[in-house]
């Protein structure tokens, strides 16, 4: 970006500042778009899962629904409830926004495409997302609503608890790649499935599971959506929000969905890695990255519309009693595994291929099971009445 600006004949200092602003604008635009589009994707997909249509009126297939919703929300009155802490109430949504938005800076969209390849990328990622918790807690406290307060407290307890197993789980990929840089982690994997971090050893599978479950919890998705559990806490921490501020919460939640998908892709699913001969094609790399991210996001949406919700004590038990020890196990197990197979790359490869094949078998069994369900469904209830059939 800077080099383009320099090419236009600008001074170096100006070019750098201008370049940074332009980059931030691009990321902000992307953030808004991806958050909006994902709301449409989720509503449409959930519609299909529930034998409904979902939004299909605005634009082709209802694609522009998110813009219509956004416009509606922006035009609504920005209400601050009586007795609310006005400053905190107005400030809270932006903490959530910043917490999610700033993560986009270190996401490697493809090999070589990144805003800032920090050498502590993953660490930065984990720490900046903690801002979300402050925003949610502020929203819950300042609303002067007991349901909001309960939602905020739940959110704080939940997100802080799950950050620990997620952080520990992510140590396993760091151990393998030997770097915290996002590009470095991506580059340490290949384009073949068994070169992906996920399939490298049994312990990476375990760490993936811990990371994925913890990320669902941090993103407040079912089965961990307790902070805004609709049937219990009305709307949780955002009960009192309307209009634009509500839209900001909404947007950062769905953008967070994308961020979780992208991080999973980069760290565990090989990111946008391409085979050696076409590794220069950054467009293809970008496409591969988005395809994988889309699959993970679909998986998260699928889980949301299938499972019920945990209770708060069960949630805490899962984190502290099961995920945390499992994360330690994964970390030490992986260290031991690397020590044992230090000079045996063939064993490592064999293990990776074996895990990948096991995964394929499980996938096949799953599809078979699902197809049985679909076949059963075909009993019809819509045959015409005898009187109608005669006509």
């Amino acid at each position: 970006m800077e080099s383009i600006l320099l090419g236009l004949g600008l001074e170096e200092a100006t070019a750098q500042i201008l370049g940074a602003i332009l980059k931030a604008l691009i990321v902000l635009l992307f953030f808004v778009t991806v958050g909006g589009v994902l709301t449409w994707v989720e509503r449409r997909l959930s519609g299909f899962m529930q034998s409904r249509l979902g939004p299909n009126r605005v634009g082709p297939q209802g694609f522009l629904q998110w813009i219509a919703d956004g416009v509606k929300l922006v035009f609504k009155e920005d209400l601050v409830p009586d007795g609310a802490d006005r400053v905190l109430f107005r400030l809270a949504p932006y903490f959530c926004l910043i917490g999610v938005f700033c993560t986009l800076v270190v996401l490697p969209w493809g090999s070589g495409i990144i805003i800032a390849d920090l050498n502590v990328g993953l660490f930065y990622f984990i720490s900046i997302t903690s801002l979300v918790v402050i925003g949610v807690l502020m929203a819950g406290w300042s609303s002067n609503n007991k349901w909001s307060l309960l939602g905020g407290m739940r959110a704080a307890a939940q997100i802080v608890s799950y950050e620990i197993p997620v952080g520990l789980g992510l140590l396993v990929p760091i151990l393998i790649s030997g770097t915290l840089s996002m590009q470095g982690i991506m580059a340490s994997q290949g384009w073949l499935p068994w070169d992906w971090m996920l399939f490298k050893s049994p312990f990476t599978v375990l760490s993936f599971f811990i990371f994925f479950v913890g990320s669902l919890a941090e993103a407040n998705r079912i089965p961990f959506d307790l902070p805004e559990a609709e049937s219990e806490l009305v709307s949780g921490y955002c009960t009192e929000y309307t209009g634009f501020r509500y839209a900001v919460f909404f947007l950062s939640e769905w953008a967070n969905l994308f961020v979780v998908g992208a991080l999973t892709t980069v760290v565990y699913l090989g990111g946008g890695n391409l085979p050696g001969m076409i590794s220069g094609l950054w467009v293809v790399s970008l496409l591969v990255f988005f395809l994988k991210t889309g699959l993970v996001v679909f998986l998260i949406i699928w889980i949301r519309w299938t499972l019920p919700r945990f209770r708060i004590d069960q949630l805490m038990k899962l984190s502290w009693k099961y995920l945390l020890p499992a994360a330690f196990l994964a970390f030490f197990g992986q260290a031991l595994w690397m020590l044992l197979t230090w000079k045996l790359p063939l064993v490592q490869l064999a293990m990776a291929v074996l895990i990948f094949l096991t995964f394929l078998v499980l996938l096949y069994l799953f599809i078979k099971r699902v197809s049985v369900n679909i076949k059963e469904q075909k009993t019809s209830v819509n045959s015409p009445l005898p009187a109608e059939a005669g006509k």
Binding site: R154, I222, L226, S231, W305, P308, N373, T379, V381
Partner: protein, 373 residues
């Protein structure tokens, strides 16, 4: 230090407008953080004075009001009232009408239980099963619309029989639906009832032992969930139920303690299967003939009183009617299952989480209009 720190319970209003109180019910809960210390149900937001209204309308004119007593299973409410008046008058009704009454009220029982199960799922955060069950309920509504033209408040069962005969094609459509729905019940079970998270949320929560259930006068699936095998259709047989072959499912502590939320939930699932069995038998045996006895336009039942109860999806609904031989009842009192189910909530909601209170309301299947009347 200890003098400066004062802690108090947090008083929260749950309702009247709350997503999971199934209508307008209000709970005043005192909590210690997330744990409920005291729960005080406040009812009456949907009171419409139906019992008093009965004193100013004719005997037949009250049938549409019974629809509104419990609009989730209007047929069963029609049936209770009509049979009570018939007993009071000593009226014999044609055999075909009895069969039609059982078919429609069992169909309505299925749709009511479908709503109960779906709402319990939705309270636990699983939205998809609820929508799927609503879709299935639409098929039942279609069938009942074929019969009487209405989809929710039917006014179909009347004093002396039923208002219209079965339309052509009804039997085939119903059998087709039952074949379809038997599969769907298992699918819903695989999707949610046997889901480990769901079981963890419902099992061992709000346990009602059999003695306590009887003390609090629980009825219907809630009573049977506690392991008490009592069903008005079997214990005090009415209509053609003695001729039919069906089981009364009871709670057995399927996933934990006897009488927990999961038992009450699973009893409803099993009752759906029994209702399917009953409808199949009725459709097979239904005789020809009239669908309604000859009843005068203005009826004056003899002086006296009667208490008659039938098994509705929310337990037994009893009608106490006092007649002084005039064109409308002198006094009418309805006894409903939701009311007693509500009275047990303060007892079992002590020391549970707020999320469990939602599970309790869902598993007891409390419906506001029936509660307040």
């Amino acid at each position: 230090m200890s003098a400066a720190l004062k802690t108090d319970y947090l008083t929260i209003n749950m309702g009247p407008q709350h997503p999971s109180t199934h209508g307008v019910i209000r709970f005043i809960i005192k909590t210690d953080g997330e744990i409920i210390h005291e729960c005080d149900p406040d009812i009456g937001y949907l009171h419409r004075g139906i019992e008093k209204l009965a004193e100013s309308v004719s005997w037949q004119g009250f049938v549409p009001f019974t629809d509104r007593v419990d609009y989730v299973c209007a047929m069963n409410a029609n049936l209770s009232y009509s049979m009570a008046v018939e007993k009071l008058m000593g009226l014999e009704i044609p055999q075909r009408a009895e069969y039609i009454r059982v078919i429609v009220s069992e169909l309505n029982r299925i749709s009511s239980h479908a709503i109960a199960i779906g709402a319990a799922n939705m309270d636990m955060g699983a939205f998809t099963p609820f929508v799927h069950l609503l879709r299935e309920r639409e098929h039942i509504n279609d069938l009942l619309e074929m019969i009487c033209g209405a989809r929710l408040t039917y006014n179909y069962i009347c004093i002396g029989g039923v208002n219209y005969d079965l339309p052509p094609g009804f039997k085939e459509k119903t059998l087709e639906f039952l074949d379809h729905f038997e599969v769907v019940v298992e699918q819903i079970n695989r999707l949610i009832s046997y889901n480990q998270i769901f079981i963890k949320r419902f099992a061992n929560v709000a346990v009602v032992p059999p003695e306590m259930a009887m003390q609090y006068n629980l009825v219907g699936p809630n009573l049977r969930g506690s392991g008490v095998k009592f069903d008005v259709r079997v214990a005090e047989p009415y209509s053609i139920y003695p001729e039919l072959d069906f089981d009364v499912p009871v709670g057995e502590g399927y996933e934990g303690t006897l009488g927990d939320c999961y038992d009450r939930y699973l009893v409803r699932v099993k009752e759906i299967r029994e209702s399917i069995k009953i409808i199949r038998q009725c459709l097979q045996r239904i005789p020809g003939g009239e669908h309604k006895a000859v009843v005068k336009n203005v009826i004056k039942p003899p002086k006296g009183h009667i208490y008659f109860r039938t098994e509705t999806p929310r337990g037994d609904t009893g009608y106490f009617i006092y007649s002084d031989g005039k064109t409308s009842p002198n006094r009418l009192k309805i006894r409903t299952g939701s009311f007693t189910a509500m009275s047990i909530i303060p007892e079992i909601a002590k020391g549970v989480f707020i999320a469990d209170l939602v599970a309790i309301i869902g598993s007891l299947d409390v419906v506001a209009p029936e509660l307040d009347r």
